[in-house]
């Protein structure tokens, strides 16, 4: 393939309406661009609730049409695919969602669900071969077919069921997995097992991940690159070490300082933070959307949207770095 990038997100925006008949439009995702190379990596999109990270994920997955911009996967615009290409796209790019109990139909046995995924996505007719594939995928997440046979979703713990949904995502041999808050409902002692699995799949099987999360500590642990979002905009993007340790954008700084970190106990207790303001108002602000809260605010911040400035390997949308 001559394309340099596996995935290109180009000036992507999505508007939602609110107010009477939805007449006031606000951008949940506002002009977001980033690229992912073919080299397998874990790219994290982090931010608080309402920052647009899930909306962005759904657009990348091809299940929510963008208002503006394009998602280019292996050189093809995913919203202009022919039906055959669309099946190819759904095999290449898979999803894992937050609540595994939502992923599975509660009235359907889990093994049947896996079978159907294999049959539909891989066009398999042979039952024996289908079972082999399902079994192999379950083994990759540390389960076996006998453990899940004939059981309903309610018979599993959250951690087990999330592993099964990862096995399901592995069935069509995807190249990219978009995982939207995959461990936020899993207990701490099992969370790391799932994240370690992602790392392993990246290294041993060359699967790339887009990891969507609000949890910066796990983001630091697994990601190669990270983008921090605020009110629909990427405010800072680059290698995870540099973004999360050096923190260029004032919002990234505020996030890191607010993180409850036991080794910084005294600091955490004494340092004050300003609570965020009205969401919708910030979404439609003409300049930088963080200007209302930012301690470094200048006039230009309220008037003009900051472009992405290069600071070493990091890009940040802040007038401080002009």
């Amino acid at each position: 393939m001559s394309e340099q990038y596996m995935l290109r997100v180009v000036k992507l925006s999505r508007f939602f309406g609110y107010g009477f008949l939805g007449r006031v439009k606000f951008p949940a995702v506002d002009n977001v661009s980033f690229d992912m190379e073919y080299k397998p990596k874990i790219f994290t999109i982090a931010g608080e609730s309402g920052c647009g990270k899930s909306t962005l994920a759904r657009m990348i997955l091809g299940i929510l049409e963008p208002s503006e911009g394009a998602v280019i996967y292996k050189g093809k615009n995913i919203y202009a695919l022919k039906s055959k290409e669309r099946r190819w796209f759904y095999r290449e790019v898979q999803a894992i969602f937050q609540d595994p109990y939502d992923t599975f139909n509660p009235l359907k046995k889990v093994d049947r669900y896996l079978y159907e995924t294999a049959r539909n996505l891989l066009d398999l007719k042979d039952a024996g071969k289908t079972q082999d594939i399902v079994d192999a995928c379950l083994k990759r997440v540390g389960l076996s077919f006998d453990e899940i046979k004939g059981k309903y979703p309610s018979e599993f713990s959250g951690g087990q069921l999330q592993r099964i949904s990862i096995a399901r995502a592995l069935i069509p041999e995807p190249k990219l997995i978009v995982a939207d808050e995959p461990v936020s409902m899993i207990d701490a002692s099992m969370r790391m097992n799932i994240l370690n699995m992602f790392k392993e799949f990246k290294e041993a099987e060359e699967i790339s991940f887009i990891y969507i999360t609000h949890d910066l500590a796990t983001a630091y642990y697994i990601s190669d690159e990270i983008a921090i979002m605020y009110r629909g905009v990427i405010v800072e993007m680059g290698p995870a070490d540099e973004v999360l340790i050096k923190c260029h954008h004032p919002y990234t700084k505020a996030l890191i300082e607010a993180l409850p970190e036991p080794s910084r106990r005294d600091d955490w207790l004494t340092r004050k933070v300003k609570p965020p303001g009205m969401e919708v108002k910030e979404f439609i602000m003409p300049g930088c959307k963080y200007a209302d809260i930012c301690p470094y605010r200048e006039d230009i911040c309220e008037e003009k949207k900051p472009p992405m400035f290069d600071v070493g390997n990091v890009k940040t949308a802040c007038w401080l770095y002009k």
Binding site: E48, D187, P260
Partner: protein, 338 residues
């Protein structure tokens, strides 16, 4: 040190009465299984553990908040008011608790603020109602008091005339915290007070709670699955596993010198900024509390399990000063079943 809460051998759980599946009827979920601990004035105490370990049930049982299917099986929970008044919440019915204990001596902050706020009542009427019932204040006077109070906790006064749904989640949780502290109770029970909030809102809510506790010198109990929250906020903490307290101690000791294998695994699995070394979680899942395992409830997952662990239950013993754990590894009496 004056105690503010003494819990002794508390047992509470859920009696399932599912219609339809006959095998479930009458089954008992042993969620809080003989828990004892003492809290003192002027401390922040944390209760940590994973989902389903019984930490929320414990708090509900102490508060006396028995909703259908939650039943008390034994033990006591005695709370002490500012003037030394004693109330055993396990021996009081709901009406009595509402009249004499709740809000005044003990208040409860649930995870979802909407469980406390009435969606059809303005914020100011929530304040007025508590002040009217417990202090006998008139409406006009109560509104003024509420206004003064809200300014004090740093909430915009506009919030008073708003309905709960008009406020953001972070603001709503701060209103609930303000309500819980209004009558300056000697015990505040906060069940996952910040879990539904973003980091920045979480910090605002937790600092408010902490500041008020420092000013009132009362006892604040924080229930959270998030070890980070305990690490920055609590003085002492308890770790729960499958309905039992497995370790109690000063927070610093729990973090840096944990004793129980479960606590160790929990601490070791925490990812930290600036540290990319490999973290390993526990294998297996917590036991089904409908039929908990014999002996130590952690033994099926414990890397150090010995023969005795599956046969006899270890009791909570003081290993170092103020640091207790329930584990046979620290017992000289191994081999001598109780």
């Amino acid at each position: 040190m004056e105690p503010s809460l003494i819990v002794e051998g508390l047992k509470a759980g859920y009696k399932l009465q599912t219609i339809g599946s006959s095998e479930e009827v009458g089954v008992y979920v042993d969620a809080v299984s003989g828990v004892s601990f003492t809290l003192y004035r002027n401390e922040v105490f944390g209760i940590a553990g994973e989902s389903g370990c019984g930490k929320s049930t414990l708090i509900k049982a102490v508060y006396g908040y028995y909703e259908p299917s939650l039943v008390l099986r034994g033990g006591s929970a005695r709370i002490y008011g500012a003037k030394g008044e004693e109330f055993d919440t396990t021996r009081m019915d709901r009406g009595l608790l509402e009249k004499r204990v709740w809000w005044k001596h003990m208040s409860y902050i649930p995870q979802s603020s909407m469980n406390v706020l009435n969606p059809t009542m303005r914020i100011r009427d929530h304040f007025a109602e508590i002040l009217r019932i417990h202090v006998g204040m008139k409406k006009g006077e109560a509104y003024q008091e509420a206004r003064k109070y809200l300014e004090e906790v740093g909430l915009p006064v506009d919030a008073l005339s708003a309905f709960p749904h008009q406020l953001s989640g972070g603001m709503r949780q701060r209103v609930v915290i303000a309500l819980a502290i209004l009558l300056e109770p000697s015990l505040i029970l906060a069940d996952e007070p910040s879990s539904a909030l973003d980091v920045i809102n979480q910090k605002v809510a937790l600092t408010l709670l902490r500041e008020k506790q420092e000013a009132l010198k009362n006892t604040l109990v924080i229930v959270s699955h998030d070890m980070g929250v305990h690490g920055v906020l609590t003085h002492r903490m308890a770790i729960m596993y499958a309905g039992k307290i497995v370790e109690i101690g000063r927070t610093a000791d729990i973090f840096w010198k944990p004793l129980h294998p479960y606590t160790k695994a929990l601490i070791e699995s925490l990812p930290r900024l600036g540290d990319k070394s490999k973290r390993v979680g526990l294998s297996g899942s917590p036991p089904d509390l409908k039929k908990p395992p014999d002996g130590c409830r952690f033994h099926p997952r414990c890397p150090y399990a010995m023969l005795i662990c599956s046969r006899a239950e270890p009791s909570l013993r003081e290993i170092k000063e103020g640091h207790y754990t329930a584990c046979w590894l620290y017992s000289e009496a191994v081999g001598e079943p109780r």
